[in-house]
């Protein structure tokens, strides 16, 4: 009966995704096609990337409340500078990643609460985004557009991209030495420090990696929508946090699961479509989405209890 804890943690998000998928297919059988699946899931790709970004921040026991505005900012940069003068656009995005790394260092050195710092930064990113694009507009870089509308044979792009994100993030965070170090900082910072590692470097790299994923999320989003808006991704802050938790992650202790996080992001996207198919008015959808979240989390709590009862000799 020995099932590893990680497998059990992954069981809930997988089961809830399959359940929702079954519900969608039942309500709308035509979704069970190449195009249908692509339409259902293509908006999930940027959300999945943003969720991985949030997960990296949560891995070091912090929380990023600026995720939504940061992705919006990136989207605005991608639709303007990155399209018009790629070199300048790239430099701006690299600068943004460096800013994130610096934030990670400042939060650690000054012992500040990450929530406060990132909440403050969210206004900075939002302001910059409005400065760049005061009115919705801009054009997506052609390559981003090409990638996002590509039609690979057999399996839709959205599915392939999600799988690739999951596998890449898993290798990076669960298998590599750097990933172990980042999760170690979340688990027990003192012991990592005592082993002679630099906590500053570990935190800086966690934040920089997170920013890189968030940059990818912004570019993907623009590739899908073809133009940008300063408020395009505001929902991402809460969606990304919910996705991490849904996927079996925890707020503290460095317990995270990249595969779970991607599945969590897919589940959240699907929940929206499911509710639309049920003809629930958009006014109620956010509440209904919350209800789905609560049900899934309750399920996980139940499983955790069973686990702690059944575990240990």
């Amino acid at each position: 009966m020995k099932i590893s804890t990680d497998t059990l943690r992954l069981a809930v998000p997988v089961a809830s995704l399959l359940l929702l998928l079954a519900g969608v297919f039942y309500l709308q059988p035509r979704a069970m096609s190449y195009n249908g699946l692509n339409l259902l899931f293509n908006l999930a790709v940027p959300i999945a990337l943003a969720t991985i970004a949030q997960m990296l921040i949560m891995a070091v026991n912090d929380l990023d409340l600026s995720m939504g505005t940061f992705v919006s900012f990136v989207a605005c940069v991608a639709a303007t500078y990155l399209h018009d003068s790629p070199l300048l656009g790239t430099l701006i995005l690299l600068g943004a990643i460096a800013t994130y790394a610096a934030l990670g260092v400042i939060i650690y050195l000054r012992n500040l609460p990450s929530i406060v710092v990132t909440l403050g930064m969210s206004f900075v990113w939002a302001g910059l985004a409005v400065l760049i694009l005061p009115v919705p507009g801009g054009t997506a870089p052609e390559w981003a557009r090409a990638v996002m509308i590509s039609k690979p044979p057999l399996v839709p792009m959205a599915i392939i991209a999600s799988a690739m994100i999951a596998v890449f993030a898993h290798l990076l965070i669960m298998r590599s030495s750097l990933g172990v170090l980042i999760r170690g900082v979340g688990g027990n910072q003192r012991s990592v420090q005592r082993a002679g590692w630099s906590i500053i470097a570990a935190r800086a790299s966690a934040y920089a990696l997170a920013a890189s994923f968030a940059v990818a999320a912004g570019i993907c989003l623009v590739g899908l929508t073809t133009s940008a808006d300063a408020n395009i991704a505001l929902r991402y802050t809460l969606l990304s946090i919910a996705g991490v938790i849904l996927g079996g992650g925890e707020f503290t202790g460095g317990r995270i699961s990249p595969i779970g996080a991607v599945i969590g992001a897919l589940t959240l996207t699907l929940a929206g479509s499911f509710l639309s198919f049920l003809r629930i008015s958009p006014d109620w959808q956010i509440g209904a989405q919350g209800a789905i979240l609560i049900i899934v989390l309750a399920l996980r709590l139940l499983l955790n209890r069973l686990e702690s009862k059944g575990g240990k000799p």
Binding site: L181, R190, R194, W197
Partner: protein
Amino acid sequence: MTLPMPPAVLEVVNADVRFGEVHALDGVSLSIHPGECIGLVGHNGAGKSTIVSVINGGLSPQQGEVFSDGMRLAPYGIGVARSRGVRCVFQELSLCPNLSIIENTRIMHRNLGGFGWRKRAAAIIVASLDAIFPDHCIDVGGPVGTLSIAQRQMVEIAMAFSDAGQPPRLVILDEPTSSLDSGLAAQLLAHVRRFVAGGGAVILISHMLNEILETASRIVVMKDGKIVAERGAGGFDHAGLVEAMGSAATHHTAARRSSVASQPTLELTLPKGQPFRAFQGEVVGLAGLGGYGQTRLLLALFDRHSPQWWPLRNPAVTFVAGDRRENGIFDLWSILKNMTAASVGDLSRRGFVQDNAEIARGDEWKARIEIRTPDMNNPILSLSGGNQQKVLFARALSTRAPVVLMDDPMRGVDVGTKHEVYGMIRAEAEAGRTFVWYSTEMEEMQLCDRVYVFREGAIVAELTGDANSEHNILRASFEGEAA
């Protein structure tokens, strides 16, 4: 200073450390040579942990120098210490609970990187575990968080002795046996002797004086931040060592004979074995090998008697945790807030905490159990481990709960403090409080009125009065295996 011996693995000269007003180290010099096991003993707050931090590079003294192999190490830090082969097992458990044992090994050994590190890390840690604790039955792929506290300590010890290209030369063991049962402790000490015979050096800190006397080749006694005595192994006996530490000699208080009558205050039927019962004013001991269900019984008792939703006006049970870092102290709170956390209800009026009442309560208990701090408003982490534990005791004893559950609360507490607390437990029991006490130390079981011995999750024996002896407890704990 020239020495006739081979150069010291590590030598600390004239180290001086102050934390605010506390003079933690007062000009301490200590040298550790290859092939030596130094037993370091002293009260809580004597400076043992501080000198360990200086040696492992975690703390730079305000004054003093560190030498290794006759060379002065000018900027000395954690990295330099590790490159010199200094390893440390800390008093509070310090692995990352969310990572697997293999991943923890990776964190410990910085030079283990590169493709295929998992396989190498697994080989290293398994080799070390097998060498120290044969038949350990620990799965190194699993997360540390699911291990019992004894298993975690085993892993941590194995980690310190493991060799990933840079062999350990000086291993510091700070209370390594505090959560191990006697069998595992013996395996560890045997390994320490082997390691020392092979030219390694060990600093052993323990409150189990027998372990020190049997294992150490040189014994260093610290008191108030100074080394007060330093002799070869033969130079001390048990009483001499206790005397040198300057704490009260060990008295054996005869256990009070319990008068069983009336209704039990606590009762719990376990899935197998005998049921558990405790009567008013009784000190009930839970003995047996570590991790055989004693802690689970305590938690079940707590769950049964504490409300799940609304707080009760009169608390029925209170709990003293053994693993203080994990479920005892509030890291960021002051000593006072930590102490009164369990009884704010009693200290408040109309929903507001009465500051004066709280401060008075704090001062009363500070005097009663001698918490060593100039100010109760200092952060709890400014106290040494034993003093933190005293605060937890004060928190439990200052409530009005008639039952106190104690989960091996004396881990890493010095002899003097222990005897003070024993006296308080006795006095409180006379006054009608009930204590349920799990401990891995035999001596503490002798203080109980009645002892339940656990084996494999069940109570296998109940010992009362004269039957409550070390011999009987051991026999009951091992009955299944002994011939």
